[in-house]
Symmetry: C2
Subunit: 356 residues, 2 copies
């Protein structure tokens, strides 16, 4: 199963564990994946610089293989005091139900975000991380140049062919094309792409025909059938999120894992209500009740900050009603297993198909 992707990254299998943010990508998970010959990745999107440094050092104790880091690329945002007030009103009933006291909320600001991003980049370089991927945008030419000068392999994220072309132009070495099947946040960044929901059956071949750099497919990929399908369509490898989320080493809460394991394909929906950005997860009460107001909530990351205490309280109360239960469109294929078992079964099934 080797190809230019596995060669460049020194992998045994063309499988990348998606860098799910918010605590899912524990050191145990990242190390288990990398130790098995696939690529483990830290979802550093919401991490502090010191938190990222600590986790990198922890993972280095667990594996000597390559692992990667994903960063959210900050972009300018703004929301008025009125928007925030309105959102807080909408969220009040959930706070009440969860018995949450009113809290002071630190609304994120753009400059702060940009500064944190710069610090995270410094850590990638200081810790000699070999692979860095980006979501929600592409870093500046200057950052790209600096990372490349240090030999870091750069991976962009694209939800459309147009974005894949943009990623290639910017200097990315590879690009993840995110199909509409994907769980969690849409990685789209160009204005027109924000609402593009393109299935992988269409997205992969059109992207492959339009760019030269390796395409990695993400979205709904859970087993060897999908790995081989993605390769038939021209992808050099796959990125798997939900499949790793229910693994024993993942840091997703047991409530989240259970919700995914029990969900059916038609219970996985899109919502903007949790974070201000469109994202895919298991339908629950919060999504339902915010259905008609989700278009009015503040933009990412403001809404994400506003709902944080609600999501945490729901989770710690073992109550799935107000959690963001991110999942791709193939929950019926999710299993409880170790990351090594998942990689074994995916690659064995792919090999059986190759031997047809």
């Amino acid at each position: 199963m080797r190809n230019e992707l596995t060669d460049r990254l020194g992998l045994e299998y063309p499988i990348i564990q998606a860098p799910m943010a918010g605590g899912v990508t524990t050191s145990e998970l990242v190390a288990a994946v990398s130790n098995k010959g696939a690529l483990g990745m830290i979802g550093a999107g919401y991490m502090s610089p010191s938190g990222l440094r600590d986790q990198i050092r922890d993972i280095k104790k667990r594996t000597s293989n390559l692992f990667g880091i994903n960063l959210f690329v900050p972009s300018p945002f703004s929301s008025t005091q009125e928007d925030i007030q309105h959102a807080q009103e909408l969220l009040k009933p959930f706070r009440t139900q969860l018995k949450l006291e009113e809290q002071e909320i630190n609304i994120p600001d753009c400059e702060q975000e940009a500064e944190t991003f710069a610090q995270l980049i410094d850590i990638v370089l200081e810790e000699k991380i070999g692979v860095c991927s980006f979501t929600f945008g592409l870093p500046s030419g200057e950052v790209i140049k600096r990372l490349k000068a240090h030999g870091v392999v750069l991976i962009g994220t694209a939800a459309t062919v147009r974005e894949a072309i943009e990623a290639e132009r910017s200097g990315m070495d590879m690009v993840v094309v995110q199909g509409c099947e994907a769980g969690g946040h849409r990685g789209a960044f160009l204005p027109d792409a924000k609402e593009s929901m393109i299935g992988l059956m269409s997205l992969i071949p059109q992207a492959v025909d339009s760019i030269e750099i390796p395409v990695i497919a993400a979205g709904g990929i859970m087993d060897g059938r999908a790995l081989m399908a993605a390769r038939c369509l021209g992808a050099k490898g796959v990125m798997m999120g939900t499949a790793f989320l229910t693994c024993s080493e993942s840091g997703a809460s047991s409530v989240h894992k259970k919700a995914v394991l029990e969900a059916r394909e038609d219970e996985i929906v899109m919502t903007r209500a949790f974070s201000g950005k469109w994202a895919r997860g298991v339908h629950n009460r919060f999504i339902e009740e915010m259905k008609h107001s989700q278009l009015d909530v503040p933009v990412f990351p403001v809404q994400n900050t506003l709902t944080k205490a609600i999501r945490s309280a729901s989770s710690s109360q073992g109550n799935p009603d107000c959690m963001s239960l991110w999942s791709g469109q193939s929950p019926m294929l999710a299993k409880e297993q170790t990351a090594a078992q998942l990689i074994d079964s995916v690659t064995e099934q792919a090999q059986r198909i190759l031997n047809w």
Copy 2:
């Protein structure tokens, strides 16, 4: 490339030409596809019983191979005089721009639709049609029994796993699973499935694991890469619509073909504005201007009737602005060619992948 699907239908290739309604499936197209060893199909959704009979007889003169027919399964609908008045107001500016005179419109009624459907079924039997597929629902147990007693192979259409299970239970011999990539109308029929937009990478394997009858994949499939991808995922064959729409034998207008051939992946959008049912096509002015009112238009087939003259006038004026330019999500892979050339290139490319 033979399997239980090709054996059952006596085909050389596991390829079915999608029964696109509205005049796309000319006798030339259906016969060319069937003569080439794939399955041609008449999109009889909007046809009159006599029109269908005439076309069947015409095709029989052009091929002795099997071809199929697709019917829309009628279901109860209603719209008030107010709804219709409101819709007519919304449509007025388009009529004015197209210099259309006010016309008497015959609003369809449920009983009439049911009667037409019964007559179309009679013709399927009288003309000894071997394959009949259904969209927008499943026929009654009585109709299914009657068709099966005459040896007609029945194919259901499902947009979710739940609908695929329902199709199997009803007695369908095969089921087309329609991914979110698909052009034209969503075939969904269960209330919860109406807004389910599941990509084929997720839909095919979950459906295959849930039912015993052969699964046929539809949506964004344009070439041998996608045919092989669908087969890796467990589908026994594929249904291709947009790929045949731009073929020389297709009855789609040259304006429609040109719009598809020139479109990019991110210009293909969903709209309810043309027919009252969600459908996918190339973005144009009508879709843009109806964007905010599309949720308020009457249900299918009422809105479809109301917009008919607008669509026709736009087409005959060679103006793409107000036509329903149905297309799947892979327009960048569409080509001008004959149906035989398309089938040759798809199967040759699939064979090259098989020989990896």
